[in-house]
């Protein structure tokens, strides 16, 4: 049995465990052990600001995704099977479209000469084009779009397991639909909320394509800090230290969340 897993395991060990280990090593070793890279990450302004901005954007994206995703999951859970399949297909289809293609689509929609600005000017709503892309706004809009399926799917899976009788029981005891929702359904759906929020937040922390293409160079998220240190400045040690701090943040979040819900629930939804 071990022989059967060994090819797959070897690929994973060589192409993800070894490279990440290499990064960790490179972050503390350069002609001898040094913590210089970490000192820079934790003290220099540009690093601090980038980490703070990344956490802020991730938080905003998670909250927006939850507010948009919850009603969709709720609706998919409460309509007949054919409709819920349609709703879920609409959620999953973009998920399997290239992230790059979707970032391009948002660029085409949001930029100064983009579809939305052209449409608004054509309708005489605005006279000057709005700055929708090449800023944090554009980044957030596109990132929420790309991560929304990771919110809806775990929410839906959790809602599916809530017995419908409970709502009827609440109603038969005289509670209004909104009260049954607030007291019965919402609390029972919280594990799904946690699973979805974790996945969206963690994926957003490491997001690269949308901030790079829609951020206009001003929204420097941590992932861009890593890539710039490698591609532009050849600061391999600094890039590695940033990557390690990012990875540890992600693992810490998974660890904390695993105290409350099974991690299978977070990861099993792909």
């Amino acid at each position: 049995m071990l022989a059967l897993v060994s090819p797959a395991l070897l690929v994973i060990l060589l192409l993800i465990v070894l490279p990440v280990g290499w990064l960790a090593w490179q972050s503390i070793y350069h002609d001898g052990f040094t913590l210089e890279n970490y000192r820079r990450v934790f003290t220099e302004d540009i690093y601090w600001r980038s980490f703070a901005l990344t956490f802020e954007i991730s938080l905003a994206v998670t909250i927006i995704a939850l507010l948009l995703g919850y009603p969709v999951a709720y609706l998919a859970n409460s309509v007949p099977k054919g409709w819920s399949i349609l709703i879920l297909s609409l959620v999953v289809l973009p998920f399997w479209t290239s992230v790059l293609v979707r970032a391009y689509a948002w660029l085409a929609l949001l930029q100064r000469t983009g579809v939305i600005n052209q449409l608004l000017r054509y309708l005489d709503v605005i006279s000057e084009p709005l700055a929708l892309a090449h800023n944090t706004f554009g980044t957030v809009v596109a990132t929420v779009h790309i991560l929304l399926p990771f919110m809806v799917l775990p929410l839906y899976a959790t809602m599916q397991k809530i017995p419908g009788d409970l709502m009827q029981a609440g109603a038969s005891l005289g509670a209004s639909p909104s009260l049954t929702f607030a007291r019965v359904f919402l609390p029972l759906s919280l594990p799904g909320v946690l699973a979805g929020c974790t996945m969206v937040f963690v994926l957003c922390l490491g997001f690269y394509i949308t901030p790079e293409l829609l951020g206009g160079g001003r929204t420097v998220m941590v992932s861009m800090l890593v890539s710039r240190n490698v591609e532009l400045y050849n600061q391999f040690g600094a890039a590695s230290a940033v990557a390690v701090v990012l990875l540890l943040s992600v693992l810490l979040i998974f660890f904390v969340v695993s105290r409350f819900i099974s991690l299978d629930r977070v990861l099993g939804q792909k």
Partner: protein, 261 residues
């Protein structure tokens, strides 16, 4: 339940808007790609295939397309058998270490892709795999494996291992009984896993940005570089073709899965 209350109407309206938000950007690219204008304009001017012609007439785009298709196909050919073998072992074995191995195989979904990409770049730089086809294929095999493992494990869950025991008690060896009894029953989840690995390799961008180069640059890397400079509607044409390919493959995967029930 069926009484339409105001909150219910609000639910329908909000959900519809969210679904439009989800699907509209995916659909908006097609009209742009068929428009004759150099710059995006609204309303769109006349219908034209010029961006498709530009794509097919450009040797650099064609070379990138060949690289993408080669990498995606090789990824499927390598990742599928490795993933099937691993999923089979994980589902059959009662060894404790298998749970750890199972989790390890899902690592590519957990580690932020930018970290994976930079790490692979450093390792490849040491062993001379940067800007090579094998390097690109290996990285995509790693990224595609979790999809195969997850899909096949789901397929194996509904399979009764006692059937394979029967075949073996009748004298087949383990390998033959797997191919004769087990594989035909999990075939659809294997095909679905392979299709997911193909789409994942076709769409992969970030690792390619760091490790691909020279003549072995996939479509996504060229598209990304082009997007940084200017908005060229040729990219809309390529995006439309890629999206159409993804959708057709997904349709194939879902009809496959349905048949297995």
């Amino acid at each position: 339940m069926t009484r339409i209350s105001p909150p219910r109407i609000a639910l329908y309206v909000i959900s519809t808007l969210v679904l439009v938000y989800l699907i509209l950007p995916v659909l908006i690219i097609a009209p742009i790609s068929f428009s004759s204008a150099r710059f995006l304009t609204f309303p769109p001017p006349s219908f034209s295939l010029r961006w498709y012609q530009q794509y097919f007439a450009n040797p650099a785009w064609m070379q990138a397309t060949r690289v993408t298709l080669t990498v995606a196909l090789l990824t499927v050919v390598i990742a599928t058998p490795c993933g099937v073998a691993a999923a089979y072992a994980i589902s059959q074995s009662k060894l404790r270490v298998m749970r750890v191995i199972h989790m390890t195989l899902l690592l590519p979904l957990v580690v932020p892709i930018i970290i994976t990409a930079v790490g692979i770049f450093f390792v490849y730089a040491k062993v001379g795999l940067v800007a090579t086809l094998p390097g690109l294929v290996l990285a995509n095999v790693m990224l595609g494996l979790p999809y195969v493992v997850i899909s096949v494990l789901a397929g194996l869950q509904s399979f009764d291992p006692a059937q394979e025991m029967v075949a073996r008690s009748l004298g087949m060896n383990r390998l033959r009984s797997f191919f004769a009894v087990t594989l035909p029953q999990i075939k659809s989840s294997v095909v679905a896993g392979g299709i997911f690995a193909f789409i994942s390799a076709m769409d992969e961008t970030i690792v390619a940005l760091f490790i691909s180069g020279g003549q072995y640059q996939p479509l996504t890397k060229r598209m990304f570089t082009a997007l940084r400079d200017e908005i060229d509607p040729t990219i809309a044409a390529i995006s439309t073709l890629m999206t159409a390919a993804s959708f057709m493959l997904l349709l194939l995967a879902s009809t496959r899965q349905k048949r297995s029930g």
